[in-house]
């Protein structure tokens, strides 16, 4: 194979890898951005909800005796079960950990968020919860190359499904926020919670729905990632959560298209940095990017500056 064609193939492969990586970040970033948009709260437990989603999918697959690869309806059922379970978990977290602190200084809620995160990570390791050792996740969606070997490129069904699901969920979410009653209520809460309350919007219920949606998206990401890597463990959400947080900030936290742009940008940048000889900079680059964006454009790529209320 001539050298230039070879380099081109390698570049295309990096593009595919970056797209997949970015898709997972974007999906998780959506949850961060929604909660931030409505509550001005960084929900640091979000990454750990991703982990719980992966485990629920794992248990559901075991409970249904799903073969690998599973028929599409079974995969979809497992997918929905994981999302539903995490939606409940998200509401529970909001009710127990954040609502009592609604009137407290913002820092208090942030600390509680970290507390919930630590609880999920370490509680998850208890032998009667998920256990401390990584569990293998069945190959519900095939993770083998579907292209002919001769092409020298690798694209797997799970990668395509991940990218597709991410785009579909983002469009659905955008429609929900822009076109429906509950979406309008969410936007109202986001602009001014007290005024929304005075207008008769059930603020607490809107916030619960926000958490349910965000956590369901996290569960979707968790399941897809676990099926792709074939593994779930109690700390899998930690770095994913941090990276997705960076993606949300880079894109403009509070903005749904922003989470998407941030997620895909971060995934692509990481892939190119790691793929062209700087693999040890892979994690560093995400946080360098965070610092740069906060210095240069604190509202993120798609974010709008909102005047601070006095």
């Amino acid at each position: 194979m001539p050298g230039s064609a070879h380099h081109l193939l390698e570049f295309v492969q990096h593009l595919i890898n970056g797209l997949y990586l970015g898709g997972t970040y974007a999906l998780i970033a959506l949850g961060y951005t929604m909660v931030y948009g409505v509550l001005r709260l960084i929900n640091f437990a979000h990454g750990d909800v991703v982990m719980v989603g992966a485990y629920v999918a794992l248990f559901a697959a075991a409970g249904l005796h799903a073969p690998a690869p599973a028929p599409w309806y079974q995969t979809l059922l497992i997918f929905l079960l994981a999302m539903a379970a995490c939606a409940l978990l998200g509401m529970l977290i909001e009710r127990v950990a954040y609502r009592p602190l609604r009137q407290a200084p913002r820092l208090a809620a942030l600390i509680t968020a970290i507390g919930v995160s630590v609880l999920l990570e370490n509680g998850g390791q208890l032998p009667w919860v998920f256990g401390s050792q990584p569990r293998s996740v069945p190959e519900l969606v095939p993770r083998v190359n579907i292209l002919p070997t001769a092409w020298g490129l690798s694209v797997t069904p799970i990668e395509l499904v991940t990218i597709g699901v991410t785009l579909a969920l983002m469009v659905a979410l955008q429609m929900l926020v822009q076109r429906t009653r509950i979406g309008k209520a969410m936007r109202a809460c986001s602009m001014d919670r007290e005024a929304a309350y005075l207008m008769g919007i059930p603020v607490n219920r809107v916030i619960l729905v926000t958490f349910a949606l965000g956590s369901a998206l996290a569960a979707a990401a968790g399941m897809l990632i676990a099926v792709k890597t074939g593994q779930a463990h109690a700390f899998m959400g930690l770095m994913l959560g941090l990276k997705a947080f960076v993606a949300a900030v880079v894109g403009g936290i509070g903005s749904i298209p922003g989470a998407m742009v941030g997620g895909f940008s971060l995934g692509m940048i990481e892939e190119m940095v790691a793929g062209y000889g700087f693999s040890s900079w892979r994690d560093a680059i995400a946080f360098v990017l965070l610092i740069l964006i906060l210095l240069v454009r604190p509202t993120g790529i798609m974010g709008r500056a909102v005047p601070e209320k006095v």
Binding site: E10, Q133, T229, M239
Partner: protein, 394 residues
């Protein structure tokens, strides 16, 4: 409201009581090992949970078996041994507080860890406190030798070191497999992985091979597509992955998924006999790793140990379990030879260890506090892993 608050206070008091109640009885004689009577305390710090939980749990199984056997035979110096195992949660920062705790409990000696990075986190503490420590399976050179200050007075180990392990990987890849173009994918944040990669590279080049790629990753990575894509582009004929088992599994699976079908070789960090290949048997075809011990070895004492271990834990021992067993036995032997639980006397006895017959081989402590031992190469396939080759120390 008032009722709620009372209830809350009662609950709080109950929790506080429970926490205080859990605390173990106060510290005993912190000075020179625990006093003249009562139990002899050996502290074991281990990764019982977290990413490397297999390291801690299997080592602890081996250590517990040793303690039970010693106690059943009447203990040491007429006293029973008590093993206190504390969890590092697979983190470096979890280590120093545990060493403090062992000191306060009056531990005579300490056993641990598997991961070199965590043993290195303990080393300055045990040097300062003056407690003899035996690492069962940390292979990094710096564990027993501080690059600035020379040999660490209080730190010993029961395993071979990475310059030897890297040499064995190189000789196996070059000789037995006949490979010449190696790619290395290693964990840049683990001293173990960095040291082993370096030693492999030197030896492989010395043997006439070529290292075409050196790519890194870190502890939390789950996606290795970018590194593997680059490696594949450089067309190696063997991939070296000196990492820890949970990420090794992801790397091997993803490498095969990307059509990288060359043999993959690693080190003792792969040693998770139950989980390594489970669900990924196809991907682990043609993969090998260097290890300290195999339950299939036909050496004296191996079969006896394997049977006792199976009976106690209903599974085959891995090398880490065997080394955990040896580490505790070696400490007990040193206490016996010292004739006391005085920490300095036990340290001196450990240093004088010659031809101690462990289940993982003969242990003689050299000037750098390292034993010279035989390495085995096993194939990561089936259970127990089949023995492929044996490399005695040169």
């Amino acid at each position: 409201m008032a009722w709620n608050r009372t209830l809350f206070l009662i609950a709080l008091a109950a929790i506080a009581a429970a926490i205080v109640g859990c605390k173990s009885p106060g510290p005993n004689a912190a000075g020179a090992g625990n006093g003249g009577s009562g139990k002899i305390i050996i502290g074991h710090y281990a990764s019982m949970s977290g990413d490397d939980a297999v390291f801690g749990t299997t080592t602890d199984h081996g250590a517990k078996l040793a303690v039970e056997e010693i106690n059943a035979a009447g203990g040491v110096l007429g006293r029973q041994i008590e093993l206190i195992t504390l969890d590092t949660r697979s983190t470096d920062v979890g280590v120093p507080p545990i060493i403090d705790r062992f000191y306060q409990e009056g531990a005579t000696a300490i056993v641990g860890e598997v991961a070199s990075g965590r043993t290195l986190a303990a080393a300055p503490k045990v040097e300062a406190y003056g407690i003899p420590m035996v690492s069962p399976s940390s292979t990094n050179v710096r564990v027993t030798v501080d690059p600035d200050r020379g040999v660490r007075k209080w730190v010993f180990r029961t395993c071979f070191i990475d310059p030897f392990q890297g040499e064995v990987i190189a000789r196996f890849a070059h000789g037995k497999l006949g490979k010449r173009r190696a790619a290395i994918l290693f964990d840049r944040a683990q001293p173990y992985s960095v040291g082993l990669a370096e030693s492999f590279k030197q030896n492989f080049i010395r043997l006439g091979g070529q290292v075409v790629a050196e790519e890194g990753y870190t502890k939390d990575d789950q996606e290795f597509g970018s590194q593997l894509t680059r490696i594949k582009g450089l067309d190696p004929d063997v991939l070296i992955v000196p990492g820890y088992y949970s990420q090794v599994k992801l790397i091997v699976t993803q490498a095969r998924g990307r059509g990288l079908d060359v043999p993959i070789v690693g080190g003792d960090g792969w040693d998770d006999p139950q989980g390594l290949t489970r669900g990924a048997e196809q991907a682990f075809k043609d993969t090998y790793f260097v290890n300290h011990f195999s339950p299939l070895e036909e050496r004296e004492g191996v079969r006896q140990f394997v049977e006792a271990y199976r009976q106690r834990w209903q599974e085959d021992p891995n090398a880490l379990a065997a080394l955990g067993y040896d580490a505790v036995q070696l400490v007990a032997d040193a206490i016996k030879r010292a004739g006391s639980t005085d920490r300095t006397a036990v340290r001196d006895a450990l240093e004088k260890t010659q031809n101690y017959a462990g289940v993982t081989g003969t242990i003689s402590v050299d000037a750098q506090h390292n034993p010279r031992k035989t390495a085995v190469v096993v194939k990561a396939e089936g259970s127990p892993f089949p023995l492929v080759d044996v490399y005695p120390p040169q």
